[in-house]
């Protein structure tokens, strides 16, 4: 299919031509439970912990299809998803928009990791005024480049930072929580496995940890 991109200033990756998927593979994928993943203000450690499910990931993939995520490199939610796996807290306007988009397009949202659950390491800035944070990061910090006039980045394309970091559930309703920094792969598997098999989610104390 010819794609005319000449009259647009920007092209999103999903608008580019792609090799069509084999219809039987497409059908098998569409039948599965759809999951979308996102990292807001976090370090991607929880997404790495997702991979720490190891061989359990294969068991899970028999039943689920991962749509938007950093692992699949799909950058938008293509259709309604059953589960949204959210890592990271809310620290910018963009985080708010994305989280609201996930809430609208996912049936169940999971807060995964300390940042999503209560703000985590980024929330350590909540006890310091935002101006002081910027000053330390861009003006007076030890990493400021010598001989260069220091500036605090400000541009319409850069999402504005919120005055404090919020847990996801203070922005939209979150349905399940997996604490940990990061949570164990086993804990993530336990919650997802319970959900995809229609069991009540029960994270045992033995694999639940906050650090």
């Amino acid at each position: 299919m010819p794609v005319n991109i000449s009259d647009k200033r920007e092209t999103a990756s999903h608008e580019l031509p792609a090799t069509p998927l084999d219809p039987s593979v497409r059908a098998a994928r569409d039948e599965k439970i759809q999951i979308a993943m996102i990292a807001l203000c976090g370090c991607w450690g929880c997404t790495l912990s997702f991979l720490d499910m190891d061989e359990n990931l294969l068991r899970l993939l028999d039943k689920v299809n991962i749509t938007r995520s950093s692992l699949t490199d799909i950058k938008r939610i293509p259709h309604r998803c059953a589960i949204g796996f959210v890592e990271g807290g809310v620290a910018s306007e963009e985080n708010i928009e994305i989280l609201e988009h996930y809430r609208k397009n996912c049936d169940i949202l999971i807060s995964a990791g300390a940042c999503a659950v209560w703000g985590g390491v980024p929330a350590m800035r909540n006890v310091v005024p935002l101006e002081a944070c910027f000053r330390e990061a861009y003006l007076d910090g030890p990493t400021a480049e010598p001989g260069v006039q220091p500036v605090i980045p400000y541009h319409p394309d850069i999402p504005r930072i919120t005055t404090r970091v919020y847990p996801c559930h203070e922005v939209v309703k979150m349905d399940y929580f997996i604490p940990g920094c990061p949570p164990d792969g086993a804990a993530i598997f336990q919650v997802l496995d319970d959900l995809v098999n229609g069991r009540e989610v029960a994270l045992p104390g033995t694999i639940n940890h906050y650090d």
Partner: protein, 234 residues
């Protein structure tokens, strides 16, 4: 004198006047507690050992047992209330487990696991509290204080019995304070005991830290429930 009390419908023999939380533990019934130190007077400050005694909510660490007492521990409403109290403690301070030296040895954290806390139902307050570094051997991380008052009551100058720790102000302005001159007279063993006595990571011994690998820390070896049910002093 031996008396009979009922805990969750089961009758147990107990010594008249013994503390309820101890009687329960001796009979294998775990009542979560945080400020209580076995063998020392109950403080009743943290409220996490709340149970229903003869229909009224009370703290099990301050209640002496009496004949015919009817105690409800595992009734779902009471269990939920205790969980809520622990969640309240988590949201009230800055309990950043990933960065805390006490993680794995923290009684508050261990209680969170025990009660299955995933998140606090209360909005996290993120209070701004200054740290206190003035004492030579002790560093006070005020963010983490839960105002249990263990240190206030039980850590005293060995010669004069004077208090070393105190709480200033009330309510949201409350703050744990340290008498630096008295703290500097504490022998190193007493400093270690004080840091151990603190159920959270507020009283920290200077010069040591992160010295137990993950997986071998205090409550990873044995949970707070198992320790409470061991029927002996900490």
């Amino acid at each position: 004198m031996s008396i009979d009390i009922s805990i969750d419908g089961q009758v147990y023999k107990a010594r008249d006047g013994a503390t309820l939380v101890d009687v329960a533990a001796e009979n294998g019934v775990y009542i979560p507690s945080l400020c209580y130190v076995r063998g020392k007077p109950g403080l009743g400050t943290c409220r996490t050992c709340s149970v229903r005694v003869n229909g009224k909510v009370m703290t099990a660490c301050t209640v002496p047992v009496a004949d015919g007492m009817d105690v409800e521990v595992s009734e779902p409403g009471m269990a939920e209330m205790r969980k809520m109290l622990v969640e309240l403690l988590f949201s009230e301070g800055n309990h950043n487990c990933p960065s805390c030296e006490k993680s794995g040895r923290c009684e508050l954290q261990s209680l969170g696991y025990e009660l299955g806390m995933m998140v606090s139902r209360f909005p996290y307050r993120f209070p701004v509290r200054t740290r206190e570094h003035a004492a030579k051997q002790i560093w006070l991380e005020r963010d983490r204080c839960i105002f249990c008052q263990r240190c206030v009551k039980f850590v005293r100058n060995l010669e004069t019995g004077q208090k070393i720790f105190s709480i200033d102000h009330r309510g949201s302005r409350a703050s744990i304070e340290i008498d630096v001159s008295l703290a500097d007279k504490m022998p190193p063993e007493q400093v270690r005991e004080a840091a151990h006595l603190c159920p959270v990571g507020c009283i920290v011994e200077k010069g040591v830290g992160y010295n137990k690998p993950i997986g071998q820390r205090r409550f990873e070896i044995k949970s707070i429930r198992e320790r409470a049910l061991e029927r002996k002093c900490r």
